[in-house]
Symmetry: D2
């Protein structure tokens, strides 16, 4: 290990944890580039993210840190190379294209290894950027059959994350559990307002003055997974539901790309139904 690495730690909180971890790191002759920690006082849980530079065996580093931490400690040492991701879409282009562009120009730390759509609309866009596109229709299939085909394709890519870029079908518990904490979705409302279908129509009917978008990890509670990023924009009475949807696209792009940037730089811990994010 010579390059920059990221050390992620979480465990029950105790006095002096930061001091102990940094002592181990310096003891091994490593440099700390940046360092963040947070204690969730309600659950007494400690989170730490440290960027280090230097030469050391990953196993030795993990073991030495483990010796100094409570028994429940989870420690990861991650090399900062691009994540392998699969993007899934339906027909809307705006988040799909935004990720492709940001991946192409290294604005997010990810390589798109494959794209999957339940329609064929987005093929042209993916293929322009040499991303293999699989059109897997849901027509004349049970939900399970459809997902089994998708899973089979995903497994070929062995991705670190699955990114739902306006993929408009609800995933089954089986799918979600298979990729626990690895699926990121963009929901077109300021959650928890307007859960479920057609949030812009709901927002129109309620007469809100601000609309938003929410990027979150997917769990089996619909639209209720840990939130990573949210963006909003002001609207007024002149917006129809359709105009809200058009305007909302930019909030969706913004929340989604921000969330992906953070996750792919290993800045996001999941803390039960919440996230801890070291920007």
């Amino acid at each position: 290990m010579e390059e920059k690495s990221i050390v992620l730690i979480e465990c029950t909180d105790k006095k002096g944890l930061v001091n102990k971890v940094t002592s181990v790191i310096f003891g091994l002759g490593l440099n700390i580039v940046s360092n963040n920690q947070f204690v969730d006082e309600e659950s007494n849980h400690f989170f730490m993210r440290t960027e280090i530079v230097g030469k050391v065996s990953k196993d030795i580093l993990v073991d030495k840190i483990k010796e100094n931490l409570p028994d429940d400690a989870m420690i990861k040492v991650i090399e900062s190379k691009p994540k392998r991701i699969v993007i899934m879409g339906t027909k809307e282009h705006h988040c799909f294209s935004d990720i492709i562009i940001r991946s192409e120009y290294k604005e997010i730390n990810a390589d798109i290894v494959g794209a999957i759509g339940n329609y064929d609309e987005l093929r042209g866009l993916a293929e322009k950027f040499d991303i293999p596109y699989s059109f897997i229709t849901h027509n004349e299939k049970t939900k399970e059959e459809h997902e089994d085909e998708i899973i089979k394709k995903i497994e070929e890519y062995n991705p670190d994350y699955i990114v739902l870029a306006k993929y408009m079908r609800i995933l089954t518990p089986k799918f979600v559990e298979k990729y626990e904490h690895k699926i990121i979705n963009i929901h077109h409302s300021f959650l928890p307002a307007f859960i479920g279908a057609n949030p812009y129509r709901q927002a129109y009917n309620r007469g809100v003055k601000i609309i938003g978008a929410t990027a979150h990890f997917v769990t089996n509670d619909l639209d209720d997974g840990p939130i990573i990023a949210q963006e909003v924009l002001k609207i007024d009475h002149t917006y129809s539901a359709k105009e809200m949807r058009n305007a909302g696209r930019d909030a969706e792009r913004a929340a989604f790309s921000k969330a992906l940037k953070l996750v792919f730089e290993d800045r996001v811990f999941i803390n039960k139904n919440r996230t801890v994010i070291f920007e």
Copy 2:
């Protein structure tokens, strides 16, 4: 009528309404200072707000406009003098003091003719600014008895609007109906997220990344009246529910003062459960 007046019109939409109304106004030798209109296409309903200057009888103006509009037209001509308002509070000072300051220095078009609290905490603040303060406890009273006392006091003031500046009790339908479209509330969440009690605790538990505040007219559906203004602010995982509440105060002040400014300048139409606002 010599000063600036505001003409508010709403009716079923028809071709050429603006042209007809402006023809009447010019025909009477009046000047148009500003002019806004909006058609709600879903309900085919027309809204118009016009600021005029000139000498004319209010009745003549209303009659002449009425002749040119559909039968269901509602027309108001309002002189732009300060509204008479009663403010109600409980213990929290921040919206209460903000309105007092803004009224004192004419930042909102309102005179505070009285203040009512179900605790005595805010008396000192009100009295510093020579606002009569009535402490009407809810202790050892039924909800109806309590409200009857409040209504009796309000009636002494004959206000145009009742402003709930963090008044922390739910009003009965009787009270709400008595002052239909005249009660303005500030709710400490980004509605419709986190309806009901303790929204900051709810927001903490959900792990949102943005919190907000909503100023709205009060109806008998809790926290569901027409929204006038909303404000938000970004937070992160380091905020406890209490810190959210503290930070949220500024969003509450901002949404509330913006809403009051708009309403008291007669810029807000109620359009069923939504608002039409000409800023």
Copy 3:
């Protein structure tokens, strides 16, 4: 003329202009879809934008309106078809790609008829979307020779607008005058702060807490043309100048795409060094 058209009017202000224009439009049996007007009180100048639907000769409409307006009136009737635009870039991809995507998916009312770069870096991106790309180096040429080549190429396309998507060379007065009010630029600062080169470095040195981007029409006063749209984002002391530049990309994209959307829908009037925008 059968489709939707846009009528743009500006002239010295006089009482009753809106009434007169709408009378003409209704007299010709046309429908008004939306209508906006503004009077610049400092210069006593009137601006009006009206969307109409109906069958009429463009010349007759202009003539009839002209009869009813002051002598200095400028009247345009525009069909709402996509603008022909040429985009110019240097090496940075983010605004360049953003416009291409938005044009491709009709988020802005424009067809990109050609792209020009003073480097060859952006060719691949343009050609993926079948946009002809001309690499016109400035090397070993005088500024005038370089621009003459560019102008020759632009003339082949006969564009409505020239869009500088992070084109990093200052244009000569000759060029700017040739395309007066037709060149739109994105400047990577919150103008008028940080005019000129390297604004993020300037912002870093000044220690600002907010950075921004400005989309504006190009005039011969460097970075001083009429502003169309501005966007900002909050930063803190941890941002290096380079990190500001990276973060600022999203503000640049947002301001630029917003400005282009407005201009290409004929919502923007130039009012000396300012803009009047009917959103």
Copy 4:
């Protein structure tokens, strides 16, 4: 020392500083409540803010830390009691009243020990809250005579900070140097745009689409001191310079109160012409 204290450290950066400081703190049996550090890589300068709880002599703590740090280290240990502040105003009430309310209700960590105005307009407001108000006119005095009177009055209060709540006179170098790093001002523009007089008029003339406010420490370069907080708001072509000024008040209040909150909680380091802020 038993209560919560704040340790502020700055020095040349070296490897392992955080580890050394935390070792000292734990060695003395103290608890760390929160901990922030930052390295300015351009100047190789280290900043650290630590909140601690526990019983220790302040001198011993400073000495022990000093032993472990580079020779140029500056170390402060501060008890978290309210700052003593003097507020200065001219005629405008909005920032002046905002601070008074926030101090009165402990929203900022400060006691206002006195108020000084070069007009008598704000006396009533101050005295409502039992703040002694000194009207010191500048009429028929040289700038130096005027400031000498002010300084004499300030010295009676021995304040930690002097807060310029829209005090509309430029201070002399003598005054500024006397209270170096202790004077906080609110400037009614998004600095460095629109330095000097009448920034809203300048903003109007330039046709900006966003206006702002800047809270900063006062130095001898006009409007060029280290920035603490900035706030902005969107405007459009319909705003006159006067309407910008009115709307801008809320941005001024927001930037100013945010800055004062941060400074009075000892969260702000001055780093040459920039600030390092641990929120």
